[in-house]
Each structure stands twice: as structure tokens, then as C-alpha cells.
């Protein structure tokens, strides 16, 4: 099983240099993406069988590459199998989408070689069983995605995005390097050896903080998120989908692997830190998203929100595991993993839709779109499914993972720690707020881009996307519905992962009456997605047929209510910033320092009025800008070293020699 996986990864790596050649051929992109499609499907199927029928003991392999005394260790246990499924499902969908979308690419030579390498690197991170292969693959993943982020290099925004991205990625790798260094200080880099060792509590705590910094910055936790909304939109759409839907989950994998698996007994304050980071990330992410007008940026910030939700679930799992309540830890952990899967599904779907819109109109700005439901009906339908799913509304899958997280929060009064007893209700409130804001955000996204009337000519003349893109989108939409209606199947599939990581599993779900899910006990709570869906469908169709039969089914068209001003310009519709104005005024004035500055010309003047909205990113101004300034200041001072005379350099060498001799003498 692991051999199949490693050979598929090797195939992906072989496709990468082939991409250089293929990018010059007319149908080269189709060949490359088909190759990636086959390789990732193989990996997905292998991983799925590894998850559903986990062989004991977990298959592993050692290849003679990498460090000479270590080799490259690989292992396919339940956790790796699950994340391989997530990564490769995203890869399959993205490759399928790119079969159609890749034709729009005007510089394929900058994307095609890196795409298979990116997929290979993500797979190797999940498969790695020693710190060296993990870190090499992690860095390779960052580099290949960076290359694709700056592929449209003529736009200075993209170049800046790439610069911030590579800085933050390096910071993350440094933190992970330090973490692994601390862990491996006594045992060597092999994960099996690290698992068997027993680091002290202080060492374990430091490692957890470092991993939170390293993996968290890649996942997009506030305040290390600043690169995400710049880099994810800059890449081509299928790569954005992979970065948001899949690479952030690889970062979550890194966190889970180290904190739940490699470091033994958790302590309660780790969960406090994770919860205090995860809760505000969720709310802030979606508040940022509400203020944006670029579709892809909205989706990137929404990724930050969902990562916050996942880390909240992980924090709860840590808290319960630390107290020995492992059956509740299983609930919280399964909720987090289910959200990992769900988010990969609907975020990829949404990015594909954004890519379709970008390809059809050339616009990412919502305020130039509108009325696309008439011009691109199939894309609009798939996007609607994605928007409803991500807003955590039944009967789709987003609701199931949110519901399970809330059930875990309701069991939290059992925790003895006072700090957690105060923090968890606050985090629950923040999650509830984030869910409500997410619904608002996606009403805005869908309503402004797809509904209403076209606000520009490109929107009025858009056309539907190709069959491959539509197939990918509809497949993901179908998955969203299935995961929402039959969640018990997915919960049971996650049982081996939860058993490995927290030591217990949720009650067996498949086989319950009518496929209900019961997270703890029948008397406490239960949810049946299938029946809710069938009930609602039955009520709706009954109402429709009864009314059409008994009352009336006539219909006629007429102009919209115009309050006496006929033939109104499409510009009188609500724009993206006007839709979010109430929320901006209530919440944004505090969190973003939002100000509206209006200039009204005097009466009888023909000049137009102007309304300007000013937003400040307080995290950027408060954290990143001062650090950048401090570094600039320090480097300016150090820069004098470049301009010394020869005598000064000789003095430096002389002083260093004397100091070393002093150290030896004393």
C-alpha cells in the first residue's frame, strides 16, 4: 500500500520537469493535468483503503535518500491516510478543473512545472515519518506554491504577495525547525524514536508553542495570517483552491501530528492557548471577509475563519484529553477532522466558481459583476450549493461539523480548570458569531456577484465555463450534500484516526435507526440529516403541487418596482460595500477603525458627491509594520559593515581573534 503511494508521488515528481517541455506544446496542459489526475486518484484510492481498512501495524518504508545516516522514513497510519484522502481529493478536483481552466493560462511555463511538484510535496509531508523529510517536503511545498503565486508577475500586487508569503513561510519553517530540534535533541530525527521518548513538561510546552507558530502561520491563524489573503488570491484559481482547501489542512496535519502524536501527555494550558488563538481567528477572519470586494480575497479570509473553527475543535480535544475525558476528546477531535474534510470540499468548490467567473468575465471585483445567474446558470447553481454549505446551514455538510463542535462545547462544564471554564463559553460565543457572520458574508458574495443586474459590460456578456470545470464543481457539490445527509458514514470512517490520536472513538454511527448521528447518547442529542432533507423536500414539493393544482399557476412578467423612477441604472443596486455597511458600522468601527467620509458638493453644483470608506488593518499596523520598521532600522545600522575601509576590516578580524583567544584562556 505504501509502495503504491510512493510510486504515485514519484510519478508526480517526474511530471514536474515534463511540465517545462509540455508548457510549450499546444495541448500540453491537458496532458499534464490528466497525468496529475491519474496520479492523485491512485493516491486517493490507496489512502481511502488505508483509512477504512487500516492494516496493523501501519505500513512504513525507508528509502535511501536524504541524510546518509537517517534515510527517508515514510509511514501510512490512520491520520496520514485521512489527510492523504483530503489532499488528493483536492488534487483530483483541482486537476479536473484545470483541464478546462488551464487553457486560459497565458504563461503556462510558470505554472505547469510547479503544479505536480506541489502536489507531490504535500503528499510527502503527510507521509513523512522523520523530521528531515517532513521539513524538506514542507519547504518544497512553500517554494512551489510561491512560484505559482508569482506566476502573473507583471502585476506588482502579486509580487508583493509573493514577497510577504515567502517571508512568512520562512518564519514558519524556522519555528518548525526549532520545534523538531528540541524534540530530536535526545533521540534523533526519526518520528518513531521521538514517539518513544519522554520530554520534560517545559520542553513539551515550548515545542507546542513553536508548532503553533510554525504550523499556525501556514494554516492562517491570527495574527500570523497576513500573507494568506495576499497570496491565495494571487495564484491561478485551481492553485488557490489547493492552497486554501488543502495546504492549510497540511498545516493542520503538522499540528496534529506533533501535538497529539509525537508529544505525550498534554497539559491543560496548551488547550487554553489554542482556544484563545482559535476563537478570535474565527470571528476576525470572517469580519475581514465581510469588508472585502474581491471575491478571492473574501474566500481567503473565510479560510482563516474555518481554520479558527478547526483549531477550536482541536483545542477542546486537547483540553479533554489532558483531563482524561477521552470519549469527549474523541467527539471534539472528530468534529475538527470532519470540518477539515468539509472545508476542503466547499472551499475548493467556491474557488473553482470564482475561477470560472474570472475566466468568463476577467473580473474578481464583485462591484463589477452581477446577474451572472442568467449568463452562467450551472456555475451559479454549484456556487449556491457551496455558499449554503459554508454558511453551516442544514442539510449540507458545514452544519454537521459545527453541530458536533457545539455538542463538545456543551460537555465542557466537566472540565475542572477555572481558566477553561471562563474561556470556553466565550469561545462558544465567538463561534456562534462567526457562523452568523459567515452566512452574511456569503449572502453578500452570492447576491452581489450572481444575482441582481449586471453592473458592467463584461458581466453582461459572460458565458458559461467548460465541461471539465463544471464536472469538478458538480462533483464537489454532490459530495457536500452527501456528507450532510449521511454524516454517520464519515464519522465512522474517522474512528481509526480518533483512536490513534486521543485514545477513544465516538459511538458507532452506521446502523442507527434511519442513519441518525448520536454523538453521545440518544437522550442527549441527535441529528438526522437525511430525514431533515427528505422532510423539507416533501413539504416543499407538496406545497408546490397543492398550490399549483388547487389555486393558481399563472405567471406574467413586468418591470420591477421603481418607486416612480423608470429605467434605473444598474448602479443604483446595492454594491458590496453598501451591503456590508450596517455590519461595518456596528463592528467595523471598533475593530477596523472604519470611517466613512462623505463629500457633498454645495447645492446647484454639478459635481458628483463622493463617499470614501476607510479601513485600517490594526494587526498589520500594530504588529507587522513596527517589526518591519525595526528590522529596517537594524539593517540600516548593520549596513555600515559594507562600506568599511581595509584597515577597519583588518581591525575587525584582529578583535575577533583576540576575543577568541581570551575565551580559550579563561
Amino acid at each position: 500500500m505504501i509502495a503504491v503511494a510512493l510510486w504515485s508521488v514519484a510519478a508526480l515528481l517526474a511530471l514536474a520537469p515534463a511540465g517545462i517541455v509540455l508548457s510549450t506544446r499546444p495541448r500540453g496542459s491537458i496532458i499534464l493535468y490528466s497525468g496529475c489526475l491519474i496520479a492523485t486518484s491512485t493516491l486517493c484510492v490507496t489512502a481511502l483503503s488505508g483509512l477504512l481498512y487500516p492494516p496493523q501495524p501501519a505500513p512504513s518504508a525507508i528509502l535511501p535518500i536524504g541524510l546518509p545516516w537517517l534515510g527517508a522514513h515514510f509511514r501510512l497510519d490512520a491520520l496520514s491516510a485521512f489527510f492523504l484522502v483530503v489532499v488528493n481529493l483536492g488534487g483530483v478536483a483541482a486537476s479536473l478543473f484545470a483541464l478546462g481552466y488551464g487553457r486560459h493560462e497565458d504563461s503556462p511555463g510558470r505554472v505547469l512545472p510547479f503544479y505536480p511538484a506541489y502536489l507531490a510535496a504535500m503528499n510527502v509531508v503527510v507521509l513523512a515519518n522523520d523530521a528531515f523529510s517532513f521539513l524538506v517536503a514542507w519547504e518544497f511545498m512553500s517554494l512551489t506554491s510561491w512560484a505559482m503565486v508569482v506566476s502573473h508577475h507583471r502585476d506588482p500586487e502579486n509580487v508583493r504577495a509573493g514577497y510577504v508569503y515567502i517571508l512568512m513561510a520562512s518564519f514558519g519553517t524556522l519555528a518548525l525547525l526549532l520545534a523538531f530540534g528540541l524534540l530530536a535533541s535526545s533521540t534523533g530525527y526519526d518520528f518513531d524514536a521521538i514517539r518513544a521518548s519522554h520530554p520534560s513538561a517545559a520542553l513539551a510546552g515550548t515545542v507546542v508553542i513553536l508548532v503553533l507558530l510554525g504550523a499556525g502561520s501556514k494554516a492562517g491563524l491570527v495574527p500570523l495570517h497576513a500573507w494568506l489573503p495576499l497570496a491565495h488570491p494571487a495564484a491561478p484559481s485551481h492553485v488557490s483552491a489547493l492552497m486554501s482547501g488543502v495546504m492549510t489542512k497540511v498545516a493542520v496535519y503538522g499540528f496534529v501530528r506533533i501535538v497529539f502524536d509525537l508529544v505525550p501527555e498534554p497539559v491543560w494550558w496548551w488547550s487554553m492557548v489554542v482556544l484563545l488563538v482559535g476563537g478570535p481567528t474565527a470571528t476576525l477572519g470572517v469580519l475581514y471577509a465581510l469588508m472585502q470586494r474581491d471575491i478571492k480575497r473574501v474566500l481567503a479570509y473565510s479560510t482563516i475563519e474555518n481554520i479558527g473553527i478547526i483549531f477550536t475543535g482541536l483545542g477542546l480535544a486537547l483540553a479533554f484529553k489532558a483531563e482524561g475525558l477521552d470519549w469527549v476528546a474523541a467527539l471534539a477531535f472528530t468534529a475538527a477532522m470532519l470540518h477539515v474534510f468539509n472545508h476542503a470540499l466547499f472551499k475548493s468548490l467556491l474557488f473553482f466558481g470564482a475561477g470560472a467567473v474570472l475566466g468568463a468575465t476577467g473580473e474578481r471585483d464583485m462591484e463589477k459583476l452581477g446577474g451572472l445567474i442568467h449568463r452562467m446558470p450551472k456555475t451559479a447553481f454549484a456556487m449556491l450549493v457551496g455558499c449554503v454549505a459554508i454558511s453551516a446551514l442544514p442539510p449540507f455538510n458545514g452544519f454537521v461539523s459545527e453541530w458536533l463542535t457545539f455538542q463538545a462545547i456543551l460537555l465542557s462544564p466537566q472540565l475542572p480548570s477555572w481558566g477553561l471554564k471562563l474561556v470556553i463559553p466565550a469561545v462558544g460565543g465567538l463561534l456562534a458569531l462567526a457562523a452568523a457572520f459567515a452566512a452574511a458574508c456569503f449572502v453578500k458574495l452570492y447576491g452581489i456577484s450572481f444575482l441582481g443586474r449586471p453592473r458592467s459590460d463584461v458581466a453582461a456578456s459572460a458565458h458559461e465555463t467548460d465541461r471539465f470545470s463544471l464536472t469538478a464543481m458538480f462533483a464537489l457539490a454532490a459530495f457536500c450534500l452527501i456528507a450532510g445527509i449521511l454524516p454517520g458514514l464519515f464519522i465512522d470512517a474517522l474512528a481509526p484516526v480518533s483512536k490513534d490520536m486521543v485514545g477513544n472513538i465516538m459511538p458507532h454511527q452506521v446502523g442507527l435507526q434511519w442513519l441518525t448521528i448520536v454523538p453521545i447518547a440518544e437522550s442527549r442529542s441527535s441529528y438526522n440529516g437525511l430525514l431533515v432533507f427528505l422532510f423539507a423536500a416533501l413539504c416543499g414539493t407538496t406545497a408546490a403541487s397543492a398550490i399549483h393544482r388547487l389555486a393558481s399557476d399563472r405567471l406574467r412578467r413586468a418591470p420591477a418596482w421603481d418607486c416612480g423612477y423608470p429605467d434605473a441604472d444598474p448602479a443604483i443596486q446595492y454594491s458590496a460595500s453598501s451591503f456590508s455597511q450596517p455590519i461595518r458600522r456596528v463592528f467595523g468601527s471598533v475593530i477596523f477603525g472604519a470611517r466613512e467620509i462623505g463629500e457633498m458638493p454645495p447645492p446647484s453644483s454639478p459635481l458628483p458627491a463622493r463617499l470614501q470608506v476607510e479601513l485600517h488593518d490594526l494587526i498589520w499596523d500594530g504588529l507587522y509594520a513596527p517589526i518591519a520598521k525595526a528590522i529596517g532600522f537594524a539593517t540600516e545600522r548593520i549596513n555600515i559593515l559594507q562600506f568599511f575601509s581595509i584597515r577597519r576590516y583588518l581591525t575587525l578580524v584582529f578583535v575577533a581573534l583576540v576575543v577568541l583567544l581570551l575565551v580559550v584562556a579563561l
Binding site: 452581477g370 446577474g371 445567474i373 442568467h374 446558470p377 449554503v388 454558511s391 442544514p394 452544519f399 453541530w403 457545539f406 462545547i409 456543551l410 465542557s412 471554564k421 466565550a426 462558544g428 460565543g429 456562534a432 458569531l433 452568523a436 457572520f437 452566512a439 452574511a440 456569503f442 449572502v443 447576491g447 444575482l451 443586474r453 441518525t516 440518544e522 437522550s523 442527549r524 442529542s525 441527535s526 438526522n528 431533515v532 422532510f535 423539507a536 413539504c539 406545497a543 408546490a544 398550490i547 389555486a551 393558481s552 399563472r554 405567471l555 406574467r556 412578467r557 413586468a558 420591477a560 418596482w561 421603481d562 434605473a568 444598474p570 443596486q573 446595492y574 451591503f579 450596517p582 455590519i583
Partner: protein, 318 residues
């Protein structure tokens, strides 16, 4: 035999809520009119309005899409399913285990999502006003509702509504501070979700004062009838929710005989009358708030619910 009786009981509940919803709205309107020294419309007028609307042609705006035509059915389906799962005269709902309080809140959230989309569909400014204000109100009302559900669930030990109702009706509960705060928070949320004064005026004709009405401005005919029926169902849902959680006396238990069920139905009608009367008095006594005072009002509800949950976390006896 038991299953048959349970299925009939659930079916009776579904038809009951559908049939009673316009009556509750008619009653509230009548009481409001009487308090203002008017005679008011007849009690059964909402039924007549619904039938009249259903028989009329639908007039669709020129660029309304297929989504606009489908949404009223989606809203109606979601609201009716949610209303059928809230115990009214008896706690023994056959399908109550399919959705608990959190799922019912989320179903209503789905309905509201589609309603807001419908407001955006036609492409006029009025729909935009309605949708943007509605999502602002929802962004505070829905978390307040969820956190109130948390505090009630932590007292009752379950999120399934019939279990909660049975627990509240039993002797184990006593008077709790958290329950009092949850009650105030739930009342405020119910006012916000049903677009009642002081949040929104259901009878206004000025577009700039509308929230809910602005989203449905373009609807006509059978679509408008379904949306009106959904709003009435939602009001009935919230009134039943307050009655079953905070006024649980008199509801028939799960295995009760037909006589007890009939008594439960009578008690339920009494509760509806009392709560409808109180709603009408409150709406007449208070003025509508300006739009940006609403977030402070709902924020207070959110804080109360959060305080109730916090008290439950910190001490089991509160």
C-alpha cells in the same frame, strides 16, 4: 398501535401549527387594534388574505431568476419542518430526534439565508436595504439564540426539545437565575427574528423603515402567500418555544392518552392566547427603535445569554 398513534400525533401537530399560525397573527392584530380604539380586521382575515393571494397571478420582475421563484417554497419548507419539531400540546413527537434546538435554529437560518438572497435577486435598491439590514440583525440575533439554547441545554442536560420540555415541567428544575436571563434573551431574540416592533414594523409602507418587508417587496400572488404563511409559522414557532421551555405546565407527556392530549391542546391554546395578548400590548406600548440602536438591543440579549451560560459553567447550581 403505538407507532400509528405517534405518526398521527406528529401529523396532527404539523397540521395544527399550519392551521393555527394565521389565527395567532389575526389575534395579535385584533388586540393591537382594540388597544388603539379601532375595531380592527376580523380574526380570520389572515386566512382570507392567504386564499386571495394564492388565487392571484404571480407578477415577476423582468430579471427575476429561477431562484426567485423557488425560494418561497424553500422558505416555507424550512419553516414548516422547524415548526413541526417544537412541542405544542404534547411532548411525544415522533420525529423530534431528527433535529434538536440547534438544528431548528439553523433551519430557520437557512430560510433567512434564502430570503436575503431573494431580496438581492431583482436588482433594485429596496431589496438591498432589506437584505443588508436583515443580515446585520441576524448576525446578532442568531448567536444570541444559539447561546440561549446552550444555557437551556446545560440546565436540562439535552438539546432535544421534548426532553427539555419534560425536564422543565418536572420538579427538578426550581427557579434559576440562568433561566431568568435566558428567558429575557429569548424574548428579545423572538422579537428580532419575527420582525416585530421595536426591531421592525410589520405594517409599515415606507421603504426606508422596512427590513423584512423590503426583502419581499417584489413578491406577489402565491409566492407572497407562502412567505406570509412562513412568517406567521415562525411567530407561532417562537411563541410555542417560549411556552414549552418556560411555561411547561399542562403539556401532555410522551405516552399520554387521548384525553390528556386533548387537555394539552386546550392548555396550549390558552398559552398562545396569553402570549399573543402580551405581544400585542408590548408592541403597542413601545416605539420602533432606529436601526442602529437595534445592534445595542440585540447585543444586550447576546450578553445576557452569554452571562447565563457563563453562570452555568462556573457553578452547577445557578
Amino acid at each position: 398501535m403505538n407507532e400509528l398513534r405517534d405518526i398521527l400525533s406528529q401529523g396532527a401537530q404539523m397540521s395544527l401549527v399550519l392551521g393555527l399560525a394565521p389565527l395567532l397573527t389575526g389575534f395579535v392584530r385584533k388586540v393591537k387594534a382594540r388597544l388603539l380604539r379601532r375595531r380592527g380586521p376580523p380574526l380570520l382575515q389572515p386566512y382570507r388574505d392567504l386564499i386571495r393571494l394564492m388565487r392571484k397571478d404571480v407578477v415577476l420582475a423582468d430579471n427575476a431568476s429561477w431562484l426567485f421563484r423557488v425560494i418561497p417554497y424553500l422558505i416555507f419548507a424550512g419553516t414548516w419542518v422547524a415548526a413541526s419539531l417544537v412541542p405544542t400540546f404534547g411532548n411525544g413527537l415522533l420525529f423530534s430526534w431528527t433535529a434538536d434546538l440547534i438544528a431548528i435554529t439553523a433551519l430557520l437560518g437557512s430560510a433567512r439565508f434564502f430570503q436575503a438572497l431573494a431580496g438581492m435577486d431583482v436588482g433594485t435598491a429596496f431589496g438591498g436595504i432589506g437584505s443588508s439590514r436583515e443580515v446585520m440583525i441576524a448576525s446578532l440575533a442568531e448567536p444570541a439564540m444559539l447561546i440561549t439554547a446552550f444555557s437551556v441545554a446545560m440546565i436540562a442536560g439535552s438539546t432535544q426539545l421534548p426532553t427539555v420540555a419534560e425536564f422543565m415541567g418536572s420538579d427538578a428544575v426550581g427557579l434559576r437565575v440562568s433561566l431568568g436571563m435566558a428567558f429575557v434573551a429569548l424574548t428579545i431574540v423572538a422579537l428580532a427574528e419575527n420582525a416585530r416592533i421595536p426591531i421592525d414594523n410589520p405594517a409599515t409602507h415606507l421603504e426606508l423603515t422596512m427590513v423584512h418587508e423590503a426583502m419581499v417587496l417584489e413578491y406577489s400572488g402565491r409566492h407572497l402567500a407562502l412567505i406570509d404563511l412562513s412568517s406567521q409559522l415562525k411567530l407561532l414557532l417562537y411563541v410555542s418555544l417560549i411556552a414549552c421551555v418556560f411555561l411547561p405546565w399542562g403539556t401532555a407527556t410522551a405516552d399520554a392518552s387521548v384525553a390528556w392530549l386533548a387537555l394539552g391542546a386546550l392548555v396550549y391554546l390558552g398559552k398562545l392566547t396569553v402570549l399573543g395578548f402580551l405581544l400585542a400590548v408590548f408592541e403597542t406600548a413601545i416605539a420602533k427603535m432606529r436601526v442602529f440602536r437595534i445592534p445595542e438591543f440585540l447585543g444586550a440579549a447576546l450578553m445576557l445569554a452569554l452571562l447565563a451560560t457563563l453562570l452555568r459553567f462556573v457553578s452547577g447550581s445557578l
